[in-house]
Amino acid sequence: MYQIENSGAILNTKDRTSWLRISRNVLFLGITSLLTDISSEMIATTLPLYLAFGLRLAPLELGVIDGIYQGAAALVKLASGYVADRWQRHKEVAIAGYGLSAICKLGLLGAGASWGALAGVTLVDRIGKGIRTAPRDAIIAASTPKAQFATAFGAHRAMDTAGAMLGPLIASALLAFTANAYDAIFVVSFCFAVIGLAVLSLFVQNRKTTDGLIEGTPAQVKTIAIGDVARLLAQPSFRSIALIGGLFSLTTLSDPLLHLTFQRSLNFGIELVPLLFVFVALIYMVLAVPFGRIADRMGRTRMFIVGYGLLMAAYALVIAPVFGMASLPIYALLLGGYYAATDGVLIAAASAILPDHLRTSGLAMLTTFTSLARLIASVVFGALWGSQGSGQAIGVFLAGMTVVVILAALRLWRVDVGAVAGGHDD
C-alpha cells in the first residue's frame, strides 16, 4: 500500500513522490478516496441492517431507493462537470461533493424512521457522489504527465479499493463492539468522511502546473459554452471511446449478480460470496498500478480491450466452471484483473484524448453513458434471467461482449497510441 514513511517526506518532497512516481495531488486524492470509501462502505454495510433491524422497515421498501436516484446523480454529474470546467474550480466542486456526502452520514442520524427523510438523505448522498467524481479525476489528470495517466489512475483506484475493503470490516467490528449501536457507526463514518474532506481541502491543489499541463488560459476558460461540451462527441476518438465504453457497459453485469450466478453454477457456500468481494478487490488493488504502467506503455485502449477479454473469460467460467473449486481463485483473478485493466484505464484513455479545458465535462459525459448503460444491463439481465434462466442470460451477455470486443479492436486499437505520442511532445 501507499504509505508515507514520515510526514517530512510530504513536506520536503518535490512535487512528485519519486518512489511511486505519482504526484502529490494523486496521493492526497487517493487518501481522500480511501477515507471516503471507508466511510461510505461502512454505511453501505450497516444500512440494510439498520433499516431492517433498527427501524424494521419492510425489505421491499429497501430496494426502491437505489435505482431511481442513479438517474438523478447522472444529471448532476453533467452539471458539476460543466461548472468545474467553466470556472476552473475542480477542487471546490469536488469539495462540495465530498462535503454533501459527509453531511449525509449525520443526516441518517436525524432521519430516524421517517421514510421520506431516509430517502432524502440517500438522494443527497448520491448527488454528492455524482458531483465529485469527474472533477476529482480531472485533477488527477491535470497533476500527471500524459504518459503516466493510467499509472496515476491505477494508484488512485488502488487506494480507493483499499478503503472499500476496509469499510465493511470496520463496520462489522463496530457492530460487534457496540452491540448494534447504528448511531455510533454513523458518527464514526462521519468522522472518516471529515478527515477525508480535510485532506482534500488542505493538501490537494486546484491547478497543478508541474508539467505545464493546464492549457486553458483565463481567456479560454471564459469561452466554454454548453455547446462546446456537446461538440466533444464530434471528436472521432472521444466518440469512439464513449461509444465503446457504453456498449461494453451494456454487456457488463454488476458484481453481486455475477457472484451469485457463479455461486449457483459452481454450487459453493453462499457464505463465501463476501470473501469473493474481498479477494477480487485485493487483486484489483495489487494489479491496478502495474496494469496502469503497462497500459501507459502499450496503449490504454488496448489494455482496456484486454481487460474485457479477462471479463469474458470470467463469464465463460461462470457458465462452465470447468476447474471445479479451483475455478474460484481463477474467477477472482480474472475479475480483479478486469477491474485493474479497465476501471482507471478507461478514464486515463479518455483524459488523454479530451482537451484540458473540457476534460471534466467529457469525463462526466463518459461516466454518465457507462452508468446508464449498466442500469439498462441490470434490467435486461433481470428479464433474461426471469425468462431464460441465469446460464442463458450470461451466455447472451457473453455473446454481446464478444461483438463489442471485435468492434473495439477495430475502432480503438490505435486510438490512444497517437495520443500518448502527442503527450510526449510537450
Binding site: I10, L11, K14, D15, R24, E41, T45, T46, P48, A52, F53, G54, R56, P59, L60, L62, G63, V64, G67, Q70, A113, P168, L175, T178, N180, A181, A184, V187, V188, C191, F192, I195, A198, V199, L202, F203, Q205, K208, T209, T210, G212, P218, S254, D255, P256, L257, L260, G269, I270, E271, V273, P274, R374, L375, S378, V379, G382, W385, G386, S387
Partner: protein
C-alpha cells in the same frame, strides 16, 4: 496574474503543504477522533445497564427464581409466549411473556424474526455481506436460548416456523439483488427447510417437485414463502406465487414434493388442531386482512380487522389468533388478539412487540 509558468510552480510548491495546513489537519483529525471515540465511549456507557441486567438475569436463573419471577427466562415453558420486543432500548431482543401476559423478561438473543416449537427455536438475523449481497443467519437455539447451530442463507429475514416436535425448521427471506437489482421493484423470496436435529439443510423449496392438477408444474418465476408445519411433523403448507397467481401448496418433507391445493391463500398458518388455516387475504397489492379457512368445509371467514396485516398469523388457541399491526401515527407495532368468528374485534395483546410465538 501575469505570472510565468515557472513562478506559479514555485508558488504552488510553497503553499502546497504549509505547516499551518498541517496543524489545521492535525486539529481536524484530533477533533474527529475525539468525536468518534467519545461517541463510542458514550455508546458503551449507555449500553452498560442493559447488558448488566441481562447478565444478572442469566446469573439469577438458578438460585433466585421465586424472588424474581421477571428473571425466570429459561427454560422456555409451554403456556408462555416468545416475541420480539419493539420497546425503546430493547429493539429486536427476544422477549418471553408468561401465560398471565404480565410477567416478562428479555432473553439474551436478538433476532429479526423468531419461532420456537418442540424444544427448538429459529432466530433469523440479517448479516451484512455488502455490495448488494445480503446474507442472513438462521440460528437454531434450544429452550435455554443457547445457539446450537447457524444456517447461512441469502436475503433479508422474513418468516420462520418450526415443526411441532422441533425436528424441522423453515425460513423465508427476501432476496433483492438477483433480478431487477437497481430498479428494485420486484423482490424474490427464498424458502429453505432445515433439519434442526441433524443440523442439515433439507433443501430450498425451489428444489422440491411441484404438481398442479396431478401434472408437473414448473416455471422460472416461482417464489415460495410462508411455511407452516402440520402435527404429523412431515406435512406442511406454504405459498407459491407464479404468473401473478397466489397458490396454496401442501408439501411433504420426506419426499420433497409439493402439490397445489388452492388459490389466494397467502402465508398460511395451521391451527393447533390442524383443522383450519389462518392466512392473509390480499385485498389489493400491499393491503391484506387476516382470514381463516376451514379445511373440512373449505369455508373462508375474513376476520373483523380493518387494518392492514402483513404477518404470518399465530394461533393463541383454536379460536383466537394473534398478529402484528402497525400504528402508523405513532410508528409503533403491537400484537393483537382476534377471535376467528369474523365478528369479535381485535384487542391489544402485547404492546410494542412483533413476531409472536405461542409455546405449546
Amino acid at each position: 496574474m501575469q505570472k510565468s509558468k515557472k513562478v506559479s510552480v514555485k508558488v504552488s510548491e510553497v503553499d502546497g503543504v504549509t505547516s499551518t495546513k498541517v496543524w489545521m489537519f492535525g486539529g481536524i483529525v484530533c477533533a474527529s477522533l475525539l468525536i468518534g471515540g467519545g461517541y463510542l465511549g458514550w455508546t458503551a456507557m449507555r449500553q452498560q445497564p442493559r447488558i448488566t441486567s441481562q447478565t444478572q438475569s442469566q446469573a439469577n436463573q438458578g438460585n433466585n427464581e421465586a424472588a424474581n419471577p421477571q428473571r425466570m427466562i429459561a427454560p422456555i415453558k409451554p403456556g408462555s409466549m416468545l416475541m420480539l420486543s419493539q420497546k425503546e432500548g430493547e429493539e429486536s431482543q427476544v422477549k418471553l411473556v408468561e401465560a398471565n401476559l404480565t410477567d416478562s423478561a428479555i432473553a439474551p438473543l436478538g433476532c429479526n424474526r423468531v419461532y420456537f416449537a418442540g424444544g427448538n427455536g429459529l432466530c433469523l438475523v440479517p448479516q451484512g455481506g455488502g455490495q448488494g449481497v445480503q446474507l442472513m443467519f438462521a440460528r437454531a437455539f434450544d429452550s435455554n436460548f443457547e445457539v446450537k447451530h447457524s444456517f447461512v442463507s441469502e436475503g433479508l429475514p422474513s418468516r420462520a416456523r418450526v415443526s411441532p416436535n422441533g425436528r424441522y425448521g423453515a425460513f423465508t427471506s427476501f432476496v433483492t439483488g438477483h433480478n431487477y437489482e437497481s430498479v428494485g421493484s420486484t423482490a424474490s423470496t427464498k424458502t429453505v427447510i432445515v433439519d434442526l436435529t441433524n443440523k442439515t439443510t433439507i433443501g430450498d423449496l425451489e428444489q422440491f417437485v411441484v404438481t398442479r392438477d396431478s401434472k408437473p408444474f414448473k416455471a422460472v418465476d416461482f417464489n415460495f414463502w410462508g411455511v407452516t408445519f402440520a402435527n404429523d411433523n412431515n406435512t406442511f403448507y406454504a405459498t407459491l406465487s407464479s404468473a401473478g397467481e397466489i397458490l396454496l401448496l401442501k408439501g411433504d418433507v420426506s419426499s420433497k414434493t409439493l402439490n397445489v391445493i388452492g388459490k389466494n391463500i397467502e402465508c398460511p398458518s395451521l391451527s393447533p388442531d390442524n383443522s383450519k388455516i389462518a392466512f392473509k387475504k390480499r385485498l389489493k397489492p400491499g393491503d391484506w386482512r387476516p382470514a381463516v379457512l376451514d379445511l373440512t368445509t373449505m369455508q373462508e371467514t375474513v376476520l373483523n380487522e380493518q387494518r392492514n396485516v402483513d404477518d404470518q398469523i399465530e394461533w393463541l388457541d383454536n379460536s383466537r389468533v394473534t398478529y402484528e399491526i402497525v400504528d402508523r401515527t405513532q410508528n409503533r407495532k403491537h400484537l393483537v388478539a382476534t377471535p376467528i368468528d369474523g365478528r369479535g374485534e381485535a384487542t391489544i395483546l402485547i404492546q410494542d412487540a412483533v413476531s409472536p410465538v405461542v409455546i405449546r
